[in-house]
């Protein structure tokens, strides 16, 4: 014991992690070197998608309350983290989402009415259209991280210059699969970017109780991959970090872990979670003051690229789209037990055929 106190400290040390920021909460550029290369149209498109998603989220919450949606995990507060990161991908790139990541899926080409069907518990919700490169929302936290390594290895083996972007949260970064996925990606040098949306709570458990690690970004170091922490309320910083990571991965320069520091304004899900039980109104207010939409709006307004009129127009457009898509979901014919049985295997085996017949025969006896 005495020796330990006086001897040289051989323990491994970590350099302090510096968070990447580009825009201040007031919408001013604070990091000229890191301003992403985006055209005015692209900047406007990121804003349009964030505003659209906020309005869609609000509408989805009320649809859930009306019983027209099933499980729903609100996204407000995380728009920069979700939308600016997806915006840095190409259509052929692959998204491996967690259950909250519906916006990335929809902006990657997954039809919104299918997201609604998924929420309503209809199998067609999971039937991703051909040419849309996404996996279904993952329920088992972390499973998408190990699968992302497999999808990325597929690209590598096919010599396809595409990248996988996998999403999880601060809670997800505690899972064994998270470490296994990062480690596989590093060991095989796979084209994958892991994005941990650190929204401060895993349902009710705060980030501070999730890990003794000072940042989640530093978890990359143990896997021997690149890690970066980014202001998740800053769309430009998120885009910059993701774009650089995606292009590195595309060029065979290996995986990156990105921690986006963000906040969910709403509850964990609409299934009975009450955030007032585990966080204060003051805390929530502080995060709402640095709303990703406010800062992007201010930035774009200062450049003459955005107006209130335009914002209202996008919100109207979102409402109309949601109304039309929920109707489409509601009008989709109900699935059947027979259809379900037939979807288990490519060719339904005799035992299941028999069970199908048993089910049909018993149907009449009520």
């Amino acid at each position: 014991m005495a020796n330990a106190a006086v001897g040289k400290d051989y323990s491994v040390k970590l350099q302090p992690v510096e968070m990447l920021k580009v825009l201040s909460p007031e919408g001013k550029i604070i990091n000229e070197d890191m301003v992403p290369d985006l055209t005015d149209d692209q900047l406007r498109e990121i804003m349009r998608r964030m505003v659209f998603t906020r309005a869609w989220d609000k509408r989805a919450v009320s649809l859930q309350r009306q019983g027209r949606l099933g499980f729903y995990a609100p996204v407000s507060g995380q728009e920069a983290s979700m939308i600016a990161s997806e915006f840095a991908t190409q259509k052929e790139d692959f998204i491996c989402p967690g259950y909250r990541d519906m916006p990335q899926l929809v902006w990657h080409g997954y039809p919104m009415y299918q997201a609604f069907l998924y929420s309503r518990g209809h199998q067609h919700g999971g039937e991703i259209p051909e040419g849309v490169n996404v996996l279904l929302p993952q329920i088992i936290i972390g499973a998408q991280i190990v699968q992302a390594a497999g999808v990325a290895m597929g690209f590598k083996l096919k010599k396809q210059k595409n990248v996988v972007v996998a999403y999880t949260g601060d809670g997800g970064s505690s899972q064994g699969d998270f470490y296994e996925g990062l480690n596989f990606a590093g060991a095989f040098n796979l084209p994958v970017v892991f994005i941990v949306q650190n929204n401060q709570y895993a349902i009710s458990t705060p980030r501070s109780k999730q890990t003794a690690a000072e940042t989640i970004a530093q978890k990359a170091i143990a896997a021997g991959i690149r890690g970066i922490q980014v202001d998740g309320m800053d769309a430009l910083a998120v885009y910059k970090a993701t774009h650089d990571a995606v292009e590195r991965a595309r060029n065979g320069e290996g995986p990156t872990l990105i921690e986006t520091v963000t906040y969910r304004f709403g509850p964990h899900s609409m299934s009975g979670d009450d955030p007032s039980k585990y966080r204060t109104k003051d805390e929530q207010g502080e995060w709402e003051n640095i709303d990703p939409l406010i800062r992007m709006r201010k930035y774009l307004e200062s450049k003459g690229l955005w107006s209130e009129e335009e914002e209202n127009q996008v919100m109207e457009e979102a409402k109309a789209t949601v109304n039309e898509q929920i109707k489409k979901a509601e009008q989709t014919p109900k699935m059947t037990i027979e259809g379900l049985i037939d979807s288990m295997f490519e060719v339904t085996p005799p035992d299941l055929e028999e069970q199908k017949a048993l089910y049909a025969a018993a149907k009449g006896d009520k």
Partner: protein, 326 residues
């Protein structure tokens, strides 16, 4: 025709499919350079390269996730789980991910994956290497479970499993790897999944079994035939999910008496399912209840007494007599 051990037949099946189909990939812990702890993949990395036959980091869930992701990308992964007890680490990938992929995605994605793993008592392996866990997987919707009992079947069944577009859990008995040799044809042939094999015809009583117990059951059949002058039919299920009840029922209708022999614990397993279905489909053909010969519902015995724990020929004979004398 070449004489092969079961392990050689498995290697031969893998080689045949790696040659035939460029999407087949073989990976797991120590399967690449060294060819697996039982040498099931010996020489394959040399022939097919490190991109198609490779070592993974030591993490079973990572191996499972890799397989699921590669399946989505159109590959046919053959993932080795080094010993069956380690499947608990990869249960999510097998049961919650691969087995549900087609169903969840309404057929857009599938998991054409074979999870190969050795199991089985009789070689005195350490804890969690030999547990008969096949019943856990057989209860999982969306996955097929195959247990070969000899080299010829192992090759034909493994080729079918690799070509199947849905996940297959392929369980290889440790005791059978090198203890028996059999004739194995060169090149391609398949044995359909879900088809049992009547390995011995008889008319007085049926033994329904699979895996290493096929051999123990044949030994028991011989003993009781000598002692009693009865004739015993032995059915090797080969696939325990889905079950080939057609073959089982045809046999029971002929012999009117049956027992099920399994290496797995007594309750809620393959034997229970076989008996339930005989009850549903052939109860009026029975002259006696269908009995189980199986170990007790304990954790698999430690190596010192594992031979006593697993059914032996004498215990099978005892069970047969109960059915014959009913």
């Amino acid at each position: 025709m070449a004489q092969m051990t079961m392990i050689q037949a498995i290697t031969d099946a893998l080689r045949t499919e790696l040659r035939r189909d460029p999407t087949v990939l073989v990976f797991g812990e120590d399967v690449g350079h060294v060819g697996g702890v039982f040498r099931a993949t010996e020489g394959l990395q040399k022939e097919f390269g490190e991109e198609r036959v490779f070592d993974t980091p030591l993490a079973e869930s990572g191996i499972g996730g890799l397989a699921v992701g590669l399946g989505v990308q159109g590959f046919r992964p053959v993932a080795e789980i080094q010993f069956i007890g380690f499947i608990f680490e990869v249960m999510d990938s097998i049961v919650a991910q691969a087995a549900r992929m087609r169903y969840r995605s309404g057929g857009r994605y599938n998991s054409p994956i074979v999870f190969r793993t050795p199991y089985g008592a009789g070689v005195k392996s350490p804890e969690l290497h030999s547990d008969p866990l096949e019943g856990l997987l057989a209860q999982t919707p969306g996955i097929k479970v195959v247990v070969p009992s000899n080299p010829y079947d192992a090759k034909g069944l493994l080729i079918s499993a690799i070509r199947d577009n849905d996940p297959v859990f392929f369980v290889e008995h440790l005791k059978l790897y090198r203890s028996i040799k059999g004739e194995v044809p060169e090149g391609e042939y398949t044995i359909p999944l879900g088809k049992a094999n009547v390995v011995k015809e008889g008319k007085d009583v049926t033994i329904i079994t699979y895996g290493a117990m096929v051999h123990t059951s044949l030994e028991a059949a011989k003993l009781i035939e000598q002692e009693r002058g009865v004739s015993v039919e032995v059915i090797d299920l080969r696939t325990i999910k889905p079950l080939d009840m057609e073959t089982v029922i045809a046999s029971v209708q002929k012999t009117n008496r049956a027992i099920v022999v399994q290496e797995a614990q007594r309750s809620a397993g393959v034997a229970a399912e076989v008996i339930a279905q005989i009850n549903e489909k052939a109860i009026l053909h029975l002259e006696a209840p269908v009995l189980r010969c199986a170990p007790p519902d304990t954790v698999i015995a430690f190596p010192q007494i594992e031979d006593e724990w697993v059914p032996n020929a004498a215990r099978i004979v005892h069970t047969l007599k109960q059915v014959l004398d009913f």
